[in-house]
Each structure stands twice: as structure tokens, then as C-alpha cells.
């Protein structure tokens, strides 16, 4: 089990009061953490702890997921909606205990299952670390580096017409809107770059850290509005106390996991379900709304199972047929001649070449992703190790863009050919292929 592998080894306090202390530290490291008493109740599956644990799970997962996936107005306020959301997110992450998903949506019982789910999240998602990152106070100028491949592919909910069809003009409208939003984004990024550059040039030599050399926007803000430093101080203090709690938790984590082992022991027949069909592909599920998922899940699961069985059957049949064919052929054929050394070398070279080009293509992926600190440097100024030049990253991203554009062209050509074939079938229709759209 992966969980065991995550246990930190080393000295831990194992006195009688160690467990409540560990849980208290964890509570402080997480927003809205529950009391040790709730955990104790949950171990014995008492219904009193249910509501608190559901709301704990909900608030944690909501905080992690609200950033980019759900808009705030979708916030479910009823307990039922919250429970559905928690189940959905856990499914997305591949949590496999059937007992958990069978818990009633009125929140009447199942505190022990909830405790198990919470602990699984703790280990699997590294919850305390995630919240440390979320609360981190940034003082530098950040730049997000990401490429299309990192973006979640979100389906656009299309309003269907009366016959269940979408008017193509509506899709063109949405595409146009996207294009305009993209322009807006581009222009505001350009503006931000210009303004950052102005600040960086103006504050050159003001930063105490020689390797940075200029002030960032938040630092400049503090200089302009000294009263805002109070708020910064508060934020830093809160981050600090979080860090302390986190350290304490890390120190005592083992006690918690040992206790969790005893919780697992008290669950008869509650061994985690490890068979493969329970694990769903998170990237597929994240694109759907929780409502949809819980409603459709059972049906999809049944379909999948039936499909899998049929597939297995077909595979077995095919395999047997192939074996027959191959054995017949090998009896008939003479042994293939040995490859000459020259030929082998040639093949090896070709493979080597293919591998290097493949490597280069993969190299595109190797740029850093996520939030990075942006520091301004004049050309030819020495660069300390570890820092990446933005120009280089832009080059990589441009290559990626070019490859995506090639794919797009190819797909467009394919579509055009397909459309042309379809149009040939219509009498009296002249087919004028559309020009490639500008960005």
C-alpha cells in the first residue's frame, strides 16, 4: 500500500497524549480542522461525527478545486450538494472504496468511512502541503508558464435547439468570442509586461538581494502605501503559524498512521477495494459536473464492465486464431537469413536518429510549469544557476505552438476533404472551401 510508503521514519512522541496532539497540529495546519474528539468518535463509527467530517471534506476539497474549475456562484450550500461534490472529487482522484460511495446523501451515518476517506486524501493529495502552497505570501513578480497541454480540456455546454441540434452559427459565434477574449488577454499581458519593465528599470539597485537587483510590484506597493505592510505582516504571521503547525504534524505523523491502522482493523470486511475497475480516469471525470457524474456513474460502470468482458472474449478468440496462423506459417517458411553487421548498424543508426528527434520533440515539454518568479536582467548579465531565461522558454513554447499549428492544419485539411466529399453528394451545390481563419 502506498500509504505505508509515505510514513516518515524517525523519532516520534508516543506518549498517552500524543495522538490528540498530532490531530490538533493537523487541525491547525488545515483550514477548519476538526477536534481530536471527532476523530475518536469516527473511529467507533458514531453518527455524531458525520456532519462535521462531511463539512471538513467539503471545505478542504472546495478550497483546492475552486481556483480554476468551479465558479463561486456554483457553491452548493445544502448538505446533499456538498456530499455529492465530495464524492465526485474523490472519484476523480480515483478513490476506490465502494462503501464510501454508498453512504447516504442525507449524512446520517458512516463517520468511520469518512475518516478513512479523509486519511486517504491526506496521504494521496498531501493536503497540508497543498494548503501551505495556497497560503504562501508571494513577494516577487510571478509569471505563469503553461501550455495548452497543461490546460484542462473543458467541454462547452451548448444550448441545444428544439430538435437537439446546435446551430453552426452559434458555434461560430462562440469561436469568435473565444478569439476576441484571446486578443484581450494578449493585450493585457503585453501591457503588464511593459509596466513591469518600467518598474524593474526604475527600481534597479534598490533590492537588498544583489541577485535580484530590483523591486517587485508588491514591494513597490508597500513603499507607496506603507499602511498595507500591516496586512502583509498579518499574512506572514498566519503563514508562519501554519508552517509551525505543519512541522509539528510532520513530527508526530507516525502516531496518527499507527492509530489509523487500528481504525482499519476495526472495520470488518472493509479492506480497500483494489480491483482495477473501480479506478476512473480523473481527466475524463473532471470535465463533468458532479450532478451528472453521480447520476450517470452506475450506468457507465455497468456498461464498462459489460464492454470489458466482451473485449476480453474477443481478445482471447483473436489470440487463439493468431497462434494457429503463426504456427502454420512458421512451419511453412524457411528460417530468415541472419542480418549482416552493416545492415544491423544501419538499422541501429536509423533508430538512434529517430530517438534523438523524438527526444528533441519531448524536450519541448521540459520547460518549467506553473507560477515562476520573474526577475529582470539586462542582456549579458551573469545568470545564477537554476534560473531559466524567459527567451529560452518562449522559444520552447513557440516550437510547441508550431507543432500544434501543424496538427491543426492537418485536421482542418482532413475536415475540408471530408466536407468536399459530402458536398459532392448534394446536387446543385457549389463547394467553395472556406479560407483558413485568422487568429
Amino acid at each position: 500500500m502506498g500509504r505505508l510508503g509515505r510514513r516518515p521514519r524517525g523519532e516520534t512522541g508516543t506518549g498517552p497524549g500524543a495522538l490528540p496532539k498530532a490531530i490538533a497540529a493537523l487541525s491547525r495546519a488545515l483550514p477548519g480542522g476538526p477536534s481530536p474528539e471527532t476523530f475518536r468518535r469516527a473511529k467507533f463509527d458514531l453518527p455524531e461525527a458525520v456532519a462535521e467530517l462531511w463539512s471538513l471534506l467539503f471545505s478542504l476539497l472546495w478550497l483546492i478545486h475552486q481556483e480554476d474549475k468551479v465558479s463561486p456562484r456554483d457553491l452548493p450550500d445544502a448538505l446533499e450538494g456538498q456530499i455529492r461534490f465530495v464524492k465526485w472529487v474523490l472519484r476523480c482522484h480515483g478513490y476506490g472504496r465502494q462503501h464510501f460511495y454508498q453512504l447516504p446523501e442525507v449524512g446520517s451515518h458512516g463517520s468511520c468511512e469518512l475518516l478513512l476517506a479523509f486519511s486517504w486524501l491526506l496521504a494521496y493529495l498531501s493536503l497540508p502541503e497543498q494548503f501551505l502552497f495556497l497560503r504562501c505570501v508571494h513577494q516577487g513578480d510571478g509569471v505563469w508558464i503553461s501550455s495548452c497541454k497543461d490546460l484542462a480540456r473543458c467541454p462547452v455546454p451548448l444550448a441545444l435547439g428544439p430538435k437537439g441540434r446546435v446551430d453552426i452559427r452559434y458555434i461560430q459565434w462562440l469561436l469568435g468570442k473565444l478569439r476576441f477574449h484571446w486578443r484581450n488577454l494578449y493585450e493585457s499581458q503585453q501591457e503588464q509586461c511593459t509596466l513591469l519593465n518600467k518598474i524593474h528599470l526604475y527600481t534597479r539597485g534598490c533590492h537588498p538581494d544583489q541577485s535580484i537587483g530590483h523591486l517587485s510590484v508588491p514591494e513597490t506597493e508597500i513603499l507607496r502605501f506603507p499602511e498595507s505592510s500591516k496586512q502583509l505582516l498579518q499574512e506572514l504571521e498566519s503563514e508562519n503559524s501554519c508552517l509551525e503547525a505543519f512541522l509539528e504534524w510532520k513530527h508526530m505523523e507516525l502516531v496518527y498512521w499507527q492509530w489509523m491502522d487500528t481504525v482499519l482493523d476495526t472495520r470488518p470486511g472493509g479492506m480497500p477495494n483494489t480491483s482495477k475497475q473501480d479506478v476512473f480516469l480523473p481527466e475524463i471525470l473532471q470535465n463533468y459536473s458532479p450532478k451528472y457524474v453521480t447520476r450517470e456513474m452506475d450506468r457507465v460502470q455497468k456498461n464498462l464492465e459489460a464492454l470489458r468482458e466482451r473485449l476480453q472474449e474477443v481478445v482471447n478468440q483473436q489470440r487463439a486464431a493468431w497462434h494457429m496462423k503463426v504456427s502454420k506459417c512458421s512451419q511453412r517458411l524457411p528460417r530468415p537469413p541472419e542480418l549482416s553487421t552493416a545492415k544491423r548498424k544501419e538499422i541501429q543508426e536509423a533508430v538512434g536518429y529517430e530517438l534523438t528527434t523524438l527526444d528533441q520533440d519531448c524536450g519541448v515539454k521540459r520547460h518549467p510549469c506553473g507560477l515562476q518568479r520573474l526577475v529582470f536582467r539586462k542582456a549579458r548579465e551573469p545568470n545564477n544557476s537554476g534560473a531559466q531565461s524567459v527567451t529560452k522558454i518562449i522559444q520552447l513554447l513557440k516550437r510547441e505552438e508550431a507543432s500544434l499549428e501543424r496538427t491543426l492544419r492537418r485536421l482542418q485539411e482532413e475536415c475540408q476533404q471530408e466536407l468536399a466529399i459530402l458536398a459532392h453528394g448534394l446536387e446543385g451545390v457549389i463547394w467553395i472551401p472556406p479560407p483558413y481563419p485568422r487568429r
Binding site: A159, G176, K177, F180, N184, E187, S188, R438, R439
Partner: protein, 453 residues
């Protein structure tokens, strides 16, 4: 974010001047019905979009003046400098000695390529001075030579040089009984070329504005200046600052981009029209009061009955019952009665603006079947009054309103083209018959697209 105004030809330069002057007069207007502090933020937001700061503290318009004759440009520069409120940049104009003689082909094929480099350099120098660029607003006539021919050429060049900027063309539609014999040819060529490279064509019909001057503004001897001032007022009421959202008091940063995103995302539908309410002589303003409900009721009826001004609205026109296809909607040749919209943007300014109920514009029956009002309708508000009107509303609409004038122009041009009249004047400068045919095809397609909403 900055908007660069490009004033082209006689018409573009004269209207451009009036637009900046109207904006500046509005900024200095003390009857804004808002606090001093609020007024300052309003001024700052307007200046951020349309003016540069200068050492002399007189705002400098973010505009470029381009004409092939020097006369109008020097007049315009002088008038702005004399106003004392604002001025043009010192090096922001380009002119030559010889005009285009109302020949579109001359502007497009001779003046365009010849001066391409100088004009594009001028624009680039201007743009480089800004921290940000939202896009271009190009003011030009549709039927002349320089504004229309060179304008079409320049728009194409701007599109290539600034693929991520918005381009809006303010197109002045000629009088139906215009004095230029080839105005329909010029119009067909201008519209078809702009449709390929511009993002939106905001159309100002001379006939309509003339009627507004006569009927609403009570002007007896209507001059070009009067017409231009009405257009400037209409443009100002759209592009002066508005709040970015209903519950915020922050002004929107990118009015041009927001307008485009709301109205013209579909590349087949780029024709925009503009209606205003109320409009009246300045000296009557003091004796009139307005209620939002009345203003919006009129404006809505103006929209659906395709009336261009308050007076003479046909109150019989009603939206078609939802679910039933409106007969008026499908037939291109029949007199259009109900004006179907693709998208509308309503801009409200003035006292008690937050109490104005815009529900009448959110009726799905007003819009084409493939868009919901939530996609198709947008509203901007600010309680800072505009240009001495205590309350005022402007409606920018992407709708069927231009079908008839467009059809007329295409029809007249086609009749001339069929008898090959004056075509040699165009082929002489490289605009072949095939180019004409292409242009007719483009416009027929636009008419068909708007008919089948």
C-alpha cells in the same frame, strides 16, 4: 487601454475632430451630476483611452490625420489647437498634394502602395508610445476616393501588422442622392474590402443624421458641421467611460474590445448601427425631464421597428410570437417590418441609472433563434451624465437595420456595372472586372446572411 483613431480623408478628419472635441467638452462639463472625485476618475479613464499627457498639460489626442490634400488637415490641426482644451500631436499627420478624385481605385491602388511605408511607420511610432494598445478606430467615408480607397488599403495593412488588435471602421454612408456619380461603386468596393479585414463596421448614415438635425435638433440650414456633431455625440455616448460591472464603480478598461466581444464575434455579421435617445437642441434641455422607463420604451420600439430616431416610430410593429417563424423575417425582398437583432449593447448614462429596467431588451423574440438573450444582450451603465443630458441612452445594434440601404446600393451599382458604365476608370488603376464581381458576391452573401436570421 489605448485606442488609436485614424482620421482618413476630408470626411474622416472633420468627424474625428468633432469626436475629440465632444469628448473634451464633456470632460469639462460641470453638469455631470456626480461628485468632483468621481468626475476626476471619469476624466482619467477617458484620457487613458483616447489622450496622451503632454508637458503642457493639454491632452493630446491619440489620433493620426491622413489625407491626400493638405487643406482639411491644416484646418483641423488649427481648430484643435485653438480650442485650448486639447490638441493633436505635433507629428501625427500625413498629407500629400494631390487627392484621389473620388476614385476608389486611385486611393486603393495608387496612393495606398505609394505611401504605405510612411503611413505604417507613422502609426508604429504612435503605437510605440503607449503602454497598451486595444485597437484602432478608423473614421472614413464609404463613397469617396481617399477615405474609402486608401482606408480599405490601410485597414488591410493594419490587420496584417497588428493581428491581435481590434479594428473598428466608422463608415460614413453617403446620401442616397449623393453628388458623386460613382458613389455606389466606391461603396461596394469599400464594404467588401473592409468586411475581409475589419472586425466591425459602425455605420453612420448621412440621410439619417441629416433628418435628426432637421427634426430633432431644429436646425434650419444644415451644414456638414451639424451632421458631424451629431455623429460625434453618438460616438461619445458609446465610448466615454462606463462602469465595468453593475455593482462596481470601476470604469471598464477596454471599451473597444468589450464592445466587439459583445456584438461582433461572428465573422459573417459585422454591421453595427447606432441609435440615441434623447436628442434635442441644447437650449431645450433645461426645460425637459426624462424618465428611464419612457426612454427605454422608445428606444426598444426604435430598435424593433427599425426607426433611426425618436420621431415617426411605427408603434404597430411587435416582435413575432416565439415559436412561430415570422413571415417578415424570411423574405429578403419584402418590406422588412420587424427588425431582428443578432446582438445589442445598451449604454445608459445619467441620474438614477441603476433603477433603469432593461428587461424589454432581454426578450428572446427580439433576437435570432440561434442566440439567447444572455449571449446577445449586454448593457453598460454609469451615473455620470453625458454632454449635458441628465439621462441618455445609446444602443449599438448588430441587426437587420442596414439590409434595405445595402440592397439599394448593391442594386444601383449592379445596374451600372451591367452596362459597364465608368468601369474603365477603375480598370485603369488595376481594379479589374473580376474584383467588382468578387465584391458583389461578398455583399450578396452579407445580405443573404442577414436576411436568414
Amino acid at each position: 487601454m489605448s485606442v488609436v483613431t485614424v482620421q482618413l480623408g476630408q470626411c474622416g478628419n472633420q468627424i474625428g475632430y468633432e469626436v475629440f472635441d465632444t469628448m473634451c467638452r464633456d470632460l469639462h462639463n460641470t453638469q455631470g451630476f456626480c461628485s468632483k472625485r468621481e468626475n476626476e476618475i471619469y476624466q482619467a479613464s477617458c484620457k487613458e483611452h483616447f489622450f496622451n499627457e503632454d508637458k503642457s498639460e493639454v491632452p493630446v489626442a491619440r489620433a493620426l490625420l491622413i489625407d491626400m490634400e493638405p487643406k482639411v488637415i491644416s484646418q483641423t490641426l488649427l481648430k484643435a489647437a485653438h480650442s485650448g482644451r486639447w490638441k493633436y500631436g505635433q507629428h501625427s499627420h500625413f498629407c500629400q498634394r494631390q487627392g484621389s478624385g473620388n476614385n476608389w481605385a486611385y486611393g486603393y491602388s495608387v496612393h495606398g502602395p505609394k505611401h504605405e511605408e510612411s503611413i505604417m511607420n507613422l502609426i508604429q511610432r504612435e503605437v510605440e508610445e503607449y503602454d497598451s494598445l486595444s485597437g484602432f478606430s478608423i473614421i472614413m467615408s464609404m463613397a469617396g476616393g481617399t477615405g474609402s480607397g486608401l482606408g480599405a488599403f490601410l485597414t488591410q495593412n493594419l490587420r496584417d501588422a497588428y493581428p491581435n488588435s481590434f479594428i473598428m471602421n466608422q463608415v460614413i454612408w453617403p446620401y442616397g442622392t449623393g453628388e458623386v456619380i460613382v458613389q455606389n461603386y466606391n461603396s461596394v468596393l469599400t464594404l467588401s474590402h473592409l468586411y475581409r479585414s475589419s472586425d466591425a463596421l459602425l455605420v453612420h448614415e448621412n440621410d439619417v443624421v441629416h433628418k435628426i438635425c432637421a427634426k430633432l435638433m431644429n436646425i434650419k440650414q444644415i451644414s456638414f458641421r451639424d451632421v458631424n456633431q451629431v455623429i460625434a455625440h453618438q460616438l461619445g455616448s458609446v465610448f466615454q467611460p462606463t462602469y465595468s460591472s453593475e455593482d462596481s464603480f470601476q470604469y471598464r478598461r477596454n471599451p473597444l474590445g468589450d464592445l466587439m466581444t459583445a456584438l461582433v464575434p461572428h465573422p459573417e455579421f459585422k454591421m453595427l448601427g447606432l441609435r440615441n435617445i434623447p436628442q434635442m437642441p441644447e437650449n431645450s434641455l433645461a426645460y425637459t425631464t426624462f424618465a428611464w422607463a419612457g426612454l427605454l420604451k422608445h428606444l426598444r420600439q426604435m430598435l424593433i421597428s427599425n426607426a433611426k430616431m425618436e420621431e415617426g416610430i411605427d408603434w404597430q410593429v411587435r416582435p413575432p410570437l416565439s415559436g412561430l417563424p415570422a413571415l417578415e423575417k424570411v423574405s429578403p425582398n419584402k418590406e422588412l417590418r420587424f427588425n431582428t437583432s443578432i446582438a445589442n449593447l445598451l449604454i445608459l448614462r445619467g441620474k438614477d441609472v441603476h433603477s433603469a429596467d432593461t428587461g424589454g431588451f432581454k426578450d428572446p423574440a427580439l433576437y435570432t433563434s440561434w442566440l439567447q438573450p444572455s449571449d446577445a444582450f449586454c448593457e453598460w451603465r454609469t451615473h455620470r451624465a453625458f454632454n449635458k443630458y441628465e439621462k441618455s441612452a445609446a444602443l449599438v445594434s448588430n441587426s437587420q437595420f442596414l439590409l434595405k440601404p445595402l440592397d439599394t446600393i448593391v442594386g444601383k451599382a449592379w445596374n451600372m456595372f451591367a452596362s459597364k458604365a465608368y468601369v474603365h476608370q477603375y480598370t485603369k488603376f488595376g481594379i479589374e472586372e473580376e474584383d467588382f464581381l468578387d465584391s458583389f458576391t461578398v455583399l450578396e452573401q452579407i445580405v443573404a446572411s442577414y436576411c436568414n436570421l
